[in-house]
Subunit: 345 residues, 2 copies
């Protein structure tokens, strides 16, 4: 399996997720601006992976400083550049805040030691993310039974994290313990994370996967061909309202209509305990051309107006459980998420 | 506006809908096999347009016969070839049955007269379809208010009919009487009838249209940006259960979840009074490559398994009203559709 992102002797290397699965191309970043651009242009995507990238971006930024620099001023510039890359994923801000705490903890040491400490913090964030996902998988696999068919939307796999995945981590863990499962992957327009990334990951792991268009999930549920739904998350409010890839809300409505469990798998770092509910989660609207063009084919008349929200919010009432590394939260999430937060402390 | 299909001195001409809006290419058919292939490969699509094409296909088939042929045997071959092109759209079978009645009414006349009568029947079917759609539009526009935003799925417009459209006919009629409306067009994967055809038609008529991915409709409904939904239909059972383009069922579930009216616009010829409910409607599954490829871009790993149902069935309970040329049917449809049927007689 390709590493989504890795540190390599002064630079970070990411597989270009815009080009998978057709081409396996790597992007190298040697400063924080390049990392910011990679996040903005979706070379790397997926809330936990964006968090890891941002952490490395801060580390690269600090490593580029010298003794003459005003450290706090430059840190602030680096922080703000990375902070404005994408608005929705909580993990971006979580990772930046963690790097900020490391910076203020270490800034009085000499620059070389500060730089080393900042890199170590980013390396830790990456390593912990894989471990977190494995724990999510262990909890989550208890919710999956033998012979079940699992629908997932977007890509919440290795490529969306530092490794193993959240929603796909649960699927992997169930598969690894020998459960006979089959996955339906929504293609996930417009960026096609399901068709391009989820299918590619699952095929590599020999997990049976069938690709469908986003608009086919309802048909399959009505025919009784879906047992449960698992998706990732970009930001979860304290009441459990969950922002995730556009279309997730529709899948959740369909799941409830067909009495199917709808699970969200995400690390605690995706939960934004400062937000009362999902109405406060900012939703990014992206370039219309993402919807209009595939390769050099324009899918519509070229001047047509387009809406391109990248995320939607699924109200907590549609969510059966939220699977985290600290355990499984059930409604009311206001209470259960706080309890899991304490488990961590 | 391009004609979807027209008779031209011994051949029928169709705009190749697989290539719109990028290229305006015409396909000419001089025998019924070519027409059957054009229907199978979706050069022409949309239930009423398929019906018109099939009628012309029969006419071309009969026009290709000579005195030595066993007329009934050859008619039967032609009929069966066209009948097996696509299984779901009721209008295909309706048009073939009507051509069959014309054949048995006229077969004892000399061959030239029979041929002329068969062509006239096909020309009548085409002409009547446009008139039917205008009547659907007149009924339907009463359901649309000023300043409303209408979501439509797939293309039920000029290109899906002999002209004017069913769902888009209602939209056109509301627009023509000066109502200020805006349309959201689902792109409609995998064949992209919304992005390619609906946007193109509405732009030509200067009707404001905004393109969205299929998975964005729920987001917009939740934000209060959709007033009502209108779609076409491929086959309606006597109880009102409606087969239409894959994804229609999902839109209907979303509409009910958000308390929005969900209207179906279709000619009486789409209603299959022989079917008790939608479970009996055959659903076509098409070539996986329609989902995997766009132009020369493969969207997923090439060997991935795919499901590609072309239609789904929306149960009558999700449908607010069915708009036909004979009037507007409201639940219970079992009763109201039969009443509209009598209006016609």
């Amino acid at each position: 399996m390709l590493p989504t992102i890795k540190w390599d002797n002064g630079k970070i290397i990411m597989v270009d997720q815009r080009k998978l699965p057709g081409e396996e191309v790597y992007v190298e970043c040697t400063d924080h601006n390049q990392v910011a651009e990679a996040i903005e242009t979706m070379v790397i995507r997926g809330a936990p992976a964006i968090g890891v990238a941002a952490a490395y971006g801060v580390a690269l930024g600090i490593m580029g400083l010298d003794e003459k620099d005003n450290l706090e001023e430059r840190f602030d510039q680096i922080y703000r550049r990375l902070e404005r890359t994408r608005p929705t994923a909580r993990n971006l801000f979580w990772a930046l805040e963690r790097m900020k705490r490391a910076f203020f903890r270490e800034r009085d040491r000499d620059l070389k030691k500060l730089q080393k400490a900042m890199l170590q913090e980013a390396l830790d964030i990456e390593m912990e993310d894989v471990e977190t996902n494995r724990r999510i998988g262990k909890w989550g696999r208890t919710l999956v039974k033998d012979d079940q068919t699992i629908l997932t939307h977007c890509n919440a796999g290795t490529l969306a994290t530092a490794g193993y995945g959240t929603a796909l981590g649960v699927i992997r863990a169930a598969f690894e313990e020998g459960k006979k499962i089959q996955v339906y992957a929504d293609e996930t327009r417009p960026f096609l994370q399901g068709a391009r990334l989820t299918c590619w990951e699952l095929e590599k792991d020999s997990i049976p996967v069938v690709l469908i268009a986003d608009n086919m999930a309802g048909y399959l549920m009505k025919k009784g061909e879906v047992s449960l739904v698992i998706t990732g998350a970009d930001r979860i409010a304290q009441n459990g309202d969950t922002a995730n890839k556009i279309g997730t809300y529709t899948v959740a409505v369909l799941a409830r209509e067909h009495n199917l469990p709808f699970y969200v798998a995400a690390p605690m770092s995706t939960i934004d305990f400062t937000l009362r509910d999902g109405n406060q989660i900012p939703i990014e609207e992206r370039d219309p051309d993402e919807l209009k063009w595939i390769g050099d084919v324009c899918l519509s008349p070229s001047r047509i107006e387009v809406r391109n929200p990248a995320f939607d919010v699924t109200p907590a009432e549609y969510i059966t459980a939220i699977i985290t590394e600290n355990g499984i939260a059930r409604p009311p999430f206001q209470k259960s998420l706080q309890e899991l937060r304490k488990n961590k402390a």
